[in-house]
């Protein structure tokens, strides 16, 4: 008899005894509800299996979402393991590769993964547990409701009735899948909300290859790509004759305004590319910082704006105001600069394309490469690697496309590697934005009119028009204006709000001072108003806002730290989570210094205490570091910072201490990769104002003249 692959798998399964559930978790598209008895390691995709229990008791979980350091690969399985009720030590987590048949939303971005999958994850675990209990109950001829589970065992009502999940897998696999299952109550949680260490720690600590840049495949060559130094420049000609004479160089090819140098090793390619002579179109009129300032000035005056929101009549109200406060804020372009620079491996062969590398959006990589090469999507296979950070940069697959295009030209498996300089000067930045705010107060110091105009460079709508304090103010006008710049931009951790929040929270502090109000109480008063009588449409829940504000005021001892500690308050809602922060500044040797940040976060249920703390503290350090130091400037289209010697990232001797508290109210979990960042710039600016009485209007704060624009 011929041994087909399937029968081989079945036989293996009979030998090894594996119970595998293939159903609706992670929003599986396959409609099965069927149970397969097989070895998921051999053919997970075919049978749609993400959760497998071996008869040894080992539990294997596949994590479909790309891991960029946000902890998803640990957080997802925690939820399944909790409901399944197994010992965490018996769980092994594996990264699933791209499979559009099986998974939906196989991406990382927008802090949306947990929110999306919470119910599906719980259902996966609870369903398997339910079936294991049924199997045990049948074996003991007892009522299943008299059985319970504990750490991978089913325990029956009578003495000695205890069976390991591993011993029940064969019987459980033959039972029907229940349509509905009960979840654990919060009080029963043992794993959710505890401190769980990263599942990849051992690999990281021992230096195991796992990142995109670590990819090595048989026959693979290395390439680096020379792109125009200036945004807006066109490659007119190039001379690679010297390059080709260099040792280790295999080929030099050009496509889409770029020249690729292909060689045997990284160093040889790095050396050879220095000999490349490229000629470009005239660059004298390309964008400089001064161009951007001119555009911002114009954008503030133009009447061609897009009205993003209008409540009441702002102009009439401001005309009647007893007091008017106005301020302008500005931020520069920023590079994402994840520690692992962009890179991708591609092997384009007739009939099949293999892509391996770091991407937050593997499915769009697959689609885009299929379109680019004119091949069917199902012939493009994407393997996910661990990512050395992303911060939004890897939502854009430009570098994966480059690799695929190059491989199709040179007909070799190739790893395209960006140097740090390529990465920093290669585009897709956080857009530069300028904001203008205006507030009108009545005699009682109440804000009756609120105005915001955002002018962005490739920023789209640079406002978030339905966010607090909108909803609390009778007369609101919010406008945006966008310039198309040759400098490419993209989402950067907490897109738009990463600076909008900073500007707005600084401005509201200025309003509070002008109104003679406490900044914390002012927000609480507004939120009371929203609760009883909101103005227009709002997207946030005032009670959750109120709770984080109250808690942060208490934890940070708001207003009670004595004359030498200068506090700044900020609160922001983004990615469906609420974060309030109090920053503290002290005068050290005559200079103001931010020493501490207290944060209270409402992200609903905290899945992993360790991962959650990491995201909040990391987000605050990220927000603080970039607010203080981050700047990418331009001269005739050329980025002026090329590496970490001139583009300053925050270091360990420059950080404030951070306290991260969580409301942890049991509401379905929401995003955490981004929401801690937006409030930080404002809290810091307000603390520095309290210490120095100087407002900071322009980022980066350090080493700049920060007088009003």
């Amino acid at each position: 008899m011929k041994t087909t692959r399937r029968s081989f798998i079945q036989k293996t399964a009979l030998l090894t005894g594996v119970f595998s559930l293939g159903f609706d978790w992670f929003d599986s598209k396959a409609s099965t509800g069927a149970i397969q008895q097989m070895n998921p390691v051999l053919d997970a995709n075919r049978f749609n299996a993400y959760l497998a229990i071996e008869n040894t008791g080992k539990v294997i979980l596949y994590s479909p979402n790309p891991e960029i350091g946000q902890g998803i690969k640990t957080a997802f399985p925690i939820v399944v393991a909790e409901e399944l009720d197994v010992d965490w030590k018996q769980v092994e987590v594996r990264q699933a590769h791209l499979d559009t048949q099986l998974f939906e939303r196989q991406l990382t971005g927008g802090s949306g993964a947990l929110k999306h999958s919470w119910d599906r994850l719980r259902k996966a675990g609870a369903t398997a547990r339910h079936m294991l209990v049924q199997a045990a109950a049948q074996q003991w001829s007892v009522d299943p409701s008299t059985c319970k589970t504990s750490k991978g065992f089913v325990i029956g009502p009578n003495k000695g009735q205890k069976l390991a999940y591993g011993a029940l897998v064969d019987a459980a696999a033959k039972l029907p899948v229940p349509a509905e299952v009960a979840y654990k109550s919060r009080a029963e949680y043992q794993l959710i909300g505890s401190f769980v260490k990263g599942v990849d720690n051992h690999r990281v600590l021992t230096g195991k290859p796992q990142y995109g840049l670590d990819t090595q495949r048989p026959g693979m060559v290395i390439a680096q790509i020379v792109r125009p130094a200036a945004f807006g420049a066109t490659l007119t000609s190039f001379d690679a004759s010297e390059v080709k004479k260099m040792p280790g160089i295999i080929d030099v090819v050009s496509f889409k305004n770029k020249v690729a140098v292909v060689g045997k090793s990284t160093w040889e390619v790095m050396q050879a590319r220095k000999k490349l002579v490229c000629n470009y179109s005239d660059t004298s009129n390309l964008e400089s910082d001064s161009t951007h300032q001119k555009w911002f000035d114009e954008g503030m005056k133009t009447d061609k704006v897009k009205v993003e929101r209008k409540d009441g009549d702002f102009h009439a109200a401001i005309a009647k105001a007893a007091k008017v406060i106005e301020a302008t804020y500005e931020c520069p372009f920023l590079s994402h600069s994840p520690m692992e620079p962009m890179n991708f491996f591609a092997d384009v062969k007739p009939g099949s394309v293999l892509l391996v590398g770091p991407t937050q959006v593997p499915q769009s990589a697959q689609k885009a490469v299929a379109t680019l090469l004119g091949v069917p999507e199902n012939t493009v296979q994407v393997e996910l690697t661990k990512m050395g950070g992303g911060f939004g940069r890897r939502l854009n697959n430009d570098y994966a496309l480059e690799a695929a295009e190059l491989s199709s030209i040179i007909k070799m498996p190739v790893k395209v590697m960006w140097t740090r300089e390529d990465d920093m000067t290669g585009g897709i930045y956080r857009p530069a934005v300028r904001y203008h705010f205006k507030a009108g107060l009545n005699e009682k110091g109440e804000m009756i009119a609120f105005y915001l105009r955002g002018v962005g460079l490739n920023a789209g709508n640079s406002t978030r028009q339905d966010n607090f304090p909108v909803g609390a103010i009778d007369n609101v006008l919010i406008e945006s204006y966008n310039y198309n710049s040759a400098i490419t931009t993209g989402p950067w951790r907490a897109p738009i709000t990463n600076f909008l929040a900073s500007a707005e929270q600084s401005f509201l502090d200025e309003v509070a001072v002008a109104a003679g109000k406490d900044p914390v109480q002012m927000r609480l008063d507004w939120l009371q108003r929203v609760k009883t009588n909101p103005v227009g449409k709002i997207t946030y829940e005032p009670d959750r806002f109120i709770e984080v504000i109250k808690q942060v005021a208490e934890k940070a001892k708001w207003g009670k730290k004595g004359p030498n500690v200068h506090q700044g308050f900020s609160v922001y809602f983004s990615h469906l989570s609420y974060v309030a922060q109090v920053a503290e500044a002290k005068i050290v040797d005559g200079e103001p210094k931010v020493t501490h940040v207290t944060a209270v976060t409402d992200c609903g249920e905290v899945i992993n205490r360790s991962g959650a703390e990491n995201q909040v503290i990391g987000g605050i350090i990220d927000g603080y570091g970039h607010a203080m130091f981050g700047k990418l400037s331009f001269d005739k289209g050329v980025p002026q910072q090329k590496n970490f010697d001139t583009y300053k990232l925050i270091r360990g001797n420059e950080i404030p201490t951070v306290e991260a508290h969580f409301v942890n109210n049991g509401i379905a979990p929401t995003g955490l990769g981004e929401p801690a960042l937006p409030p930080t710039g404002g809290a810091v600016a307000n603390a520095l104002y309290a210490a120095t009485k100087k407002r900071l209007y322009k980022q980066p704060f350090a080493g700049l003249d920060n007088a009003n624009l």
Partner: protein, 161 residues
């Protein structure tokens, strides 16, 4: 091209490379020791930190020809089972986020503790400030160095007994 002999993680190896090639690329491209990371290539970030005769060095700017007979230790040679006190502390406090900078952080921390087994908080902050972590894991790094010092002192005193 030159044939160069190296002593890496207590093993002798031979490579055929341009003698100017930085040690980092010899490790990664020629020896497939991929744990040592590239972050900047200009001695700014510390991701590429290895030991040369026990001293932490930035392998991205170290021509392989200058290594000579010195013994090179990379993250792979620190302790395969992750039982070095620094690795233990790093796991216990769950330091890594994306993890990419951590090989360099760990090699720097372990070298620091060899020189200064009981570092003060300021010693730790100063000793670690040459290594960038884009994910911002600095607080846990500082705590973990302190914790590693404790673990090492306990295991040393039990060894003595």
């Amino acid at each position: 091209m030159e044939s160069i002999e190296l002593l890496i993680n207590r093993k002798k190896v031979k490579v055929e490379v341009d003698p100017n090639t930085p040690l980092l690329w010899v490790l990664r491209d020629h020896l497939s020791l991929l744990g040592t990371k590239y972050g900047c290539g200009i001695a700014q970030c510390g991701a590429c930190t290895v030991w040369i005769d026990g001293e932490p060095m930035r392998s991205c700017v170290l021509p392989v020809s200058t290594v000579g007979k010195s013994s090179v230790t990379t993250i792979e040679g620190l302790n395969e089972k992750a039982e070095h006190p620094v690795q233990v502390a790093w796991d216990e406090l769950d330091v890594p986020q994306c993890g990419y900078c951590q090989a360099g952080q760990i090699m720097t921390a372990a070298a620091l503790l060899k020189k200064n087994p009981k570092p003060s908080h300021d010693d730790i902050v100063a000793g670690m400030s040459g290594n960038i972590c884009r994910c911002g894991t600095y607080h846990r790094i500082h705590k973990a160095v302190k914790r590693a010092a404790e673990i090492a002192s306990v295991s040393n005193s039990t060894k003595k007994k």
